[in-house]
Every structure is written in C-alpha cells, then in structure tokens.
C-alpha cells in the first residue's frame, strides 16, 4: 500500500520535472528559432518585423547569397583553425598548471607563491593599449598567434581543474608513485582519466571562447581576409548602425546593403559547429560516473 503511494508521487514529480525542463528548453530555443525564421524569410517581411518563429514567404535566397560570399567561408576556416589550435594550447596549459597548483605547500613548496602570481594575473591586466603594444612589438599582429597566445592561460579554468584534481583520492596517486612514476606519468595515468568530465567541460569553454570572441580579431588582425568568423560577422553587422552615419550620401550606401535576412543566415550558420560539438562533450560526462564507481 505504502509503496504504491510512493510510486504515484514519484510519477507526479516526474511530470512536473519534465514539464519544467521542456518549457525551459523552449524558452531557450525561441531566439535562435526567430533568427532561423528570419534567415528563411522574404527580406521585406523581415524588415517589416513580421517574422516570429516561422518564416514568412519561405525562401533560401539568403543562403544562396551566403554561399557566394567567399570571405565568410574563408573566415569560417580561420575560426576552425584558431579554435582547434587555441583549444589544444589552452587545455594543455591548464592541465600542466593545475596539477602542481593542486598540491599542498608540503608537497610543492612553491605552490603558494605560484598561486599568488596566478591569482594576480587573473585580476589585474594592463589594458588594451599596452597589451597591443607588446603583441605588436613581438611581430604577432595579423597572425593566428595573436588570437591564441595572449589568452593562452585561462586562469579561471586552472583554478577549476585544480579543485577537481584535489578531490582525486590520494591513494591512487601514491600507488603510482610506488611504481616509480614521475609526476608527468601520474598526471597522465591517474589525474587526467579521473577528471575527464571536468576536462571536457573546460575544452568546451575554451572552444566556445575562441569561437565566439570577436574583439581580439578587431584589435590584432589588420587584414579583413585574415578575420576569424565572429569578427567578420560583427564587422558586417556593426556597420549597420545607420544612425552613426553622418553623411546622407553614405546613408544611402548603407541602406542598400542592409540585409537583415542575410545577416541572420550568417549567425545561424556560425552557431552550427557548436551545436554539433556539444553532444560529443557530454559523452565524457557518463565516463565520470564509471570512474566514480571505481573509487570505492
């Protein structure tokens, strides 16, 4: 009898849970659906603000136009290169820094001083101009490296992973050390497998950061043909703020190129790679549970 009541209650709770999660998902889908609908709509209808979450006068014109825009695809490739290379560098640095920092001062006497340096670097920076001067002096401007190296060390991620490392049971580490493994081997064989979900998350954070960042591109890249994708999209859509233009002659020029539907298509296509990436990352979340079970 008691059991039956409990079962019923659980089912009721489940309905509520499903309803809430699905409602939240719909709320989050809305803005992107709106963008997608605009990109598939007739341009005049889009300008009139008539497009909600369904396209008006369905057309693939903007996508046909986008296919012809060589710079968009070149920028897309640059963004891929930057994201892959940048994320690899990010994650390697995060891992190798997080490991010694996760040690207590007893195990690593300089932990405290390094931690202070790293924290200080997280909070303070020289600002846009001095950083530019350094990047420029090193001759990195207009190269892929200028987009990767200045932000190569993600201090926030180091601290996050460091805390994950600290929760790895001491016994496992000691076991490898008895086998005579050096810290690199311990890191590789014990800590990295144990922290897969966290590392996967950080990889995602870094990749998303690289993919979405547009401002470093504006700052350090001097030729349009070398722009990463988001910088390109930003520079195309930003020049649409018509009210900034003070010359009536220029206003005409901008008005004739303001294509809301084409811009929407650009945005939609640029989010696709990230949508595809996410499930791959969550795959590692399941591994975490398995590892956790081994802990016993």
């Amino acid at each position: 009898m008691g059991k039956a009541v409990m079962k019923k209650r659980i089912r009721f709770a489940d309905i509520i849970i499903y309803m809430i999660t699905i409602a939240l998902a719909l709320a989050c889908l809305l803005p992107l659906l709106n963008m997608a609908a605009i990109s598939f709509s007739n341009s005049a209808a889009a300008t009139a603000g008539r497009v909600g979450i369904l396209p008006v006068d369905f057309t693939v014109n903007s996508y046909a136009k986008l296919l012809k825009e060589a710079q968009y695809w070149r920028s897309l490739m640059i963004s891929f290169a930057r994201t892959i290379l940048g994320t690899i560098i990010n994650i390697v640095l995060v891992i190798v820094m997080a490991y010694p920092l996760s040690k207590s001062t007893r195990e690593f006497y300089a932990q405290k001083i390094y931690m202070r340096i790293v924290l200080f670097a997280m909070l303070f920076n020289g600002g846009m101009i001095p950083t530019y001067l350094v990047v420029n002096k090193l001759g990195l401007c207009d190269t892929l490296w200028s987009l990767i190296l200045p932000s190569a060390v993600g201090v926030g991620n180091v601290i996050l992973l460091m805390n994950f490392f600290r929760s790895v049971p001491k016994e496992l580490e000691e076991a490898t050390q008895i086998d005579g493994a050096n810290p690199f081997q311990t890191l590789w064989n014990v800590f990295i497998p144990m922290s897969k979900p966290c590392i996967a998350t950080i990889i995602l954070f870094c990749a998303v950061g690289h993919w979405n960042d547009y401002f470093t591109g504006i700052l350090y890249i001097s030729k349009i043909r070398n722009y990463p994708l988001q910088t390109y999209i930003q520079s195309v859509t930003a020049s649409f703020d018509i009210s900034r233009v003070t010359d009536p002659k220029k206003i005409q020029e901008y008005l004739t190129i303001s294509e809301k539907t084409l811009n929407a298509a650009k945005i939609v296509v640029s989010t696709l790679p990230l949508m595809i990436m996410y499930p791959f990352v969550t795959k590692y979340f399941k591994d975490g549970i398995v590892v956790g079970a081994v802990k016993e």
Partner: protein
C-alpha cells in the same frame, strides 16, 4: 628632442628647395593642370610628358596633380572597408588591397599601396587608428577624427599639406572645397597651415514631414501648413486608422532614442523632430548665438521649453509613438514598412528607407511637406558640421606628402568630374565599372559639393528635359539619371516601377526638388569642436539633458522641471563649458 628639431629643420629645408624648384616648373606645367588628365602619360607610367622638357620628373610628380612618379612609390595606408562587399568573379585575388582602385592609381600615378590596417567604418576603424597612434607605428596615410587630428598636429606627427594642396590639388578639388566657403578646410588648418584633407559633409537640407498621401486622400484631409494642420492629420491617422491596422495599432510620429540618434540633434539620420523645436526658435544640441549676441547651448535656452511642452502634449494625446523610448532606428523602419505608421520627420533621403514599404504595399504614396511653418511662414533649420569625422593625414616624414592629394584629385576627377567620359583606357573603364557596381569601397574616400543634392537634381532634370547631355554630369549622377529615366518609362508604360528606380526618383527628383526650392531660415551654429572641459564634464551634462527631456515628454515630470534642469546644467559645468566655447568661437 633636439635631434627631432634638427630633423624637422632639415625637412623644411628640403621642402623649401622643392618649393623653389616647383615654382620654376609650375609655370611650365600650369596649363596641364587645366587640361583633362593625361591618360596616355599615365598609361606609360615611366615617361611623363613635360611640356618644358627640362624639369626633373620627380619634381614634376611632386608638383603636378597628374604627373606620375618616375619610379613606383610605395605607401602604406589604413583603410576603411565594407568587409562583406564581393568582388567581380573575373577579378583574381580581389581584396581591399588589390582592387580596380589600386590598379587605377598604379596605372595613373605609379603608386602602390600596402594596407597597414583594414577595418569597418566606425568603432572598429577608430580602434585601429588609436592603436596605431599609441604604438607610434603610423601608416603613411590614414583617416583620423578631428580630436585625433588636433593631437597629431600638436605633437608634430603629421605632414604640413599646404604646399601639396596648392600644387597638386586639381582645380575640381579646389572648386569642391570652395563650395564650403572655406569652412571645410578651416577645420583642418592650424596656424595657417593645412594638415589634413577633410571629407566633407554635404548639405542635408531641411527636415520634412513625410505623410502617407493615400491615407490623407482616403480621409479627405488637406495638405498641412501649420502646426495645427499637422496635429489634425496625425490625430486622424491614429484615431481613424486608414491603414486598417486595428484599433490603437497605428503609430503617430515615431522617434528613436539610441545613443547616436536622439529625438533631436543633427540633421543626418532620421526620425527626429527638429522642425518642431526650430519653430519655437530652439536649436537643440547646437552652439548658437542667442538673442543677446552671446554664445549659448541650444538645449538650455527658454525656447526649448515651448518645444518640450508641445511634445509632452502630443505624447499625452497619443500622437507620438508611445514606445519611442525603446525604439531603435531599424524598428522605426519596421513600423513604416509594416504600414503601421504614416507620418515621419526625415530628410530628403527617406525613400531609401521606404523600399520595403513600397514592396509590401505599392499603393502607399509618400509625400513630403516642409512644415510646420513659423510665424513668418517659413521653416527654420541650422547648418551642420562642414566635415565628417574623417580627416586624411600624412605621416610626418613620408617623402611624398603630395601623394594623398594626387590620389584624391584623381578620383574626384573621375567620380565628380567628366574625366570618366573622356578617358577610354582599360584601367579607367575597370575603375568606373567598380564605382558603378559598388565592388568594394574606394578607400581614399570621395567627397562632394556642399549643394550636391541640389546640383544632381538640376543636372538630372535638365537631362530628362533634353537640355543637358547626360554625359555632362558626374558618373554617379549619370547612374541616377538612368534610374530616374527607367522610372518614368515604367510609369508611362503603366507598369510598376522597380524598387531602386522608385527610390531614386523619389529622392532625387521629388524630394530634392522640394529641397532646392525650399525657402527656409538658416541658423549657423558657431562651434562644432570640443573644449578642454568637455572631456570630463560633457557626458554628465548630456545624460542630464536627455533624461530630463524624455521624462518631460513622457509626462513623468511636469514641464516646469525644465527650469530646474537648466539651473542644474549650468551648475554642473555647463557655464564653464559655455565660457570655453564662447572664447574659442569668438576667435
């Protein structure tokens, strides 16, 4: 420091020598300045045709607008680009750095560019310029703002272009600058020396009230003249819903309030209500001479209060868009396109924003009226800044400062002059093809006569009437002429004209005519620059002003709050800045 000064002295000496020799050869080549550009000379590149035959080709190149350099001169440049522009398919490796424009300069003047940086116009480009200036690593040529120009001149980082301008500016360039009565170049002149080639701002003309004539006819309304007429028409639009939008859905007068596009202020952009303020004698956001002859800020003058009283009244009556506080420019355009609004204030170029409306409801007929008239039966406007925030400068130490003037002269001759029709070289043809099809942007930036819109109207009208050869106008005007002709042909054939033709005709033939014939009172603001104290204090004052104005209009505070605002404004630094402006404008 001393080394710098010695270098500067040396430079001056070299330049002086240049000038002396220049004077000698100037007489000889003076004539060629008057002639059409020498296409042949340009095409051959390395053998300039000198009439005197004795002048050094380098000296000639440095003193004649059209003479090419004997050897290729390389220069670096920071350019504004439109990143999404596409290049013609047969053009290999098209890029802002390699375009028909750069090829053209190479062919005509033997100069070769390297892009030092490229960025979209606006914040992006300004960031690039700031970084270049900060790092002291300047391109040979770039465009800066007035504020940057002042700092560059003060720190002796840019070349004096006085000589270059007097020698190498084509007569057409001088004519165009002269159409601003010296106001344009004055802003780039310091201690009698010219330091930049400003890109000018053409006259935007007065603001019109654009009304849906089809709605007026449907409701049997007469054309407006006075403020009362305007009120009656907008009331009828809102209350009687001629567009069948549903009760309460029709928007009266839309305004927008972004940082850069407030409900009043300069005449560029649109969706403001300047005419209503000037009707009461107020010139908001302008530095003007007040009744007693002293310099004052337009937004704090007593006349302003009357304008605000009216706006508050109209807002309360529902004649002004209820949601104007949250509208951005594109959203107002949406309202118009959607057929929900039939009354807006804007300049002659509004039809460029009406394209969508024309597509969706071709029956919509927009007519512009110069209203509301003041007590003397005229509308009052003020004149704008003669220049855009675009001043081309040459890096101090660049060997060929005249190069900038020469490129600009060259493009002006083709874009605004008649050289395009007389030159049949391949480069010129490619160049004009690009200009007309909008492949990329001409990075050196063209500029136009002060009365460019009125001029183009006259030219196109005469050509349509058959009294002017269609080639006797600028290439751009010619393309507009073709467009207007197609419009008229379609109308005659009883077809629906194409959107672009409809836009061009309504801007260039209808609104521009009205602009040309408009009899308006004109106020000349006395100051467009910045003063010392503005850097720290101005934003506080502007914040206060805009907040108070919007609170008054929306009825959040009574109109009497305006007096408190003026006092606060003065106390919070307004008086200090007014004194500074007054001093600078007095000179």
């Amino acid at each position: 420091m001393r080394a710098k000064r010695i270098m500067a002295l040396g430079l001056t000496a070299v330049m002086l020598m240049g000038i002396v020799t220049a004077c000698g050869s100037d007489k000889g080549t003076g004539k060629s300045t008057e002639n059409a550009p020498q296409a042949e000379a340009g095409a051959e590149g390395d053998s300039p045709q000198t009439e005197t035959g004795e002048a050094d080709p380098w000296v000639l190149a440095a003193t004649d607008p059209y003479a090419p350099y004997p050897d290729t001169v390389n220069y670096t440049i920071g350019v504004t680009v439109d990143p999404s522009r596409t290049y013609p398919e047969d053009w290999e490796n098209g890029s802002p750095e390699h375009s028909a424009y750069t090829e053209f300069y190479k062919a005509k003047l033997n100069v070769q560019n390297t892009d030092y940086f490229e960025a979209a116009d606006g914040d992006d480009y300004r960031t690039k310029v700031s970084m270049a200036i900060s790092s002291g690593d300047l391109p040979d040529i770039m465009a800066v703002t007035h504020e940057e120009l002042v700092a560059l001149v003060e720190n002796d980082l840019v070349e004096d272009l006085t000589e270059a301008y007097s020698n190498c500016a084509s007569s057409l360039m001088k004519e165009i600058y002269d159409s601003y009565d010296g106001r344009a170049l004055d802003m780039a002149t310091f201690d009698g020396k010219l330091y930049a080639m400003p890109t000018t701002n053409i006259s935007g003309g007065p603001e019109f009230l654009w009304l849906r004539k089809d709605w007026m006819d449907q409701l049997g309304l007469k054309e407006p003249e006075t403020l009362e007429d305007v009120e009656a028409i907008v009331t009828a639009f809102v209350e009687r819903d001629p567009g069948n939008n549903g009760a309460g859905k029709t928007v009266g007068i839309p305004l927008c309030t972004t940082e850069s596009n407030f409900l009043y202020g300069n005449y560029s952009s649109a969706y403001k209500m300047n005419n209503v303020f000037t009707m009461f004698g107020a010139c908001p956001e302008q530095w003007i001479r007040t009744g007693d002859g002293s310099v004052g800020y337009g937004s704090v003058q007593p006349e302003m209060k009357e304008g605000l009283t009216l706006l508050a009244d109209w807002y309360a009556k529902g004649l002004i868009d209820k949601e104007f506080s949250t509208r951005k420019y594109a959203e107002v355009t949406s309202l118009i396109t959607d057929g929900r609004c039939g009354s807006v204030f804007a300049g002659w170029w509004l039809p460029y924003d009406l394209g969508g409306c024309y597509e969706l409801n071709p029956e919509a007929e927009w007519v512009s009226y110069l209203v509301p008239a003041g007590s003397d039966g005229k509308v009052t406007t003020w004149t704008g800044n003669p220049n855009q925030e675009v001043y081309f400068v040459v890096r101090k130490g660049f060997e060929h400062p005249e190069l900038l003037v020469k490129i600009k002269s060259l493009t002006l001759d083709y874009n605004q002059g008649d050289a395009a029709y007389t030159d049949d070289s391949a480069e010129a043809a490619a160049y004009m093809e690009w200009v007309n099809h909008g492949y990329g942007i001409e990075f050196i930036g063209g500029f136009d006569w002060y009365d460019a819109v009125a001029r183009s109207y006259t030219h196109i009208k005469e050509a349509i009437d058959g009294t002017r050869d269609p080639q006797n106008m600028t290439a751009y005007e010619n393309s507009l002429y073709e467009s207007c002709k197609s419009y008229l042909a379609s109308v005659e054939a009883g077809e629906q004209p194409e959107k672009q033709n409809w836009i061009d005709y309504n801007c260039r033939m209808v609104a521009a005519k009205q602009m040309l014939e408009a009899d308006v009172n004109s106020v000349n603001p006395v100051f467009f620059g910045q003063t010392e104290s503005m850097g720290m204090m101005w934003e506080t004052l502007r914040t206060l002003e805009r907040k108070t104005v919007m609170q008054i209009v929306t009825g959040e505070v009574p109109v009497s709050e305006f007096d408190t605002f003026v006092e606060e404004w003065k106390a919070a630094g307004g008086d200090t800045i007014t004194a500074e402006v007054s001093e600078q404008a007095g000179n």
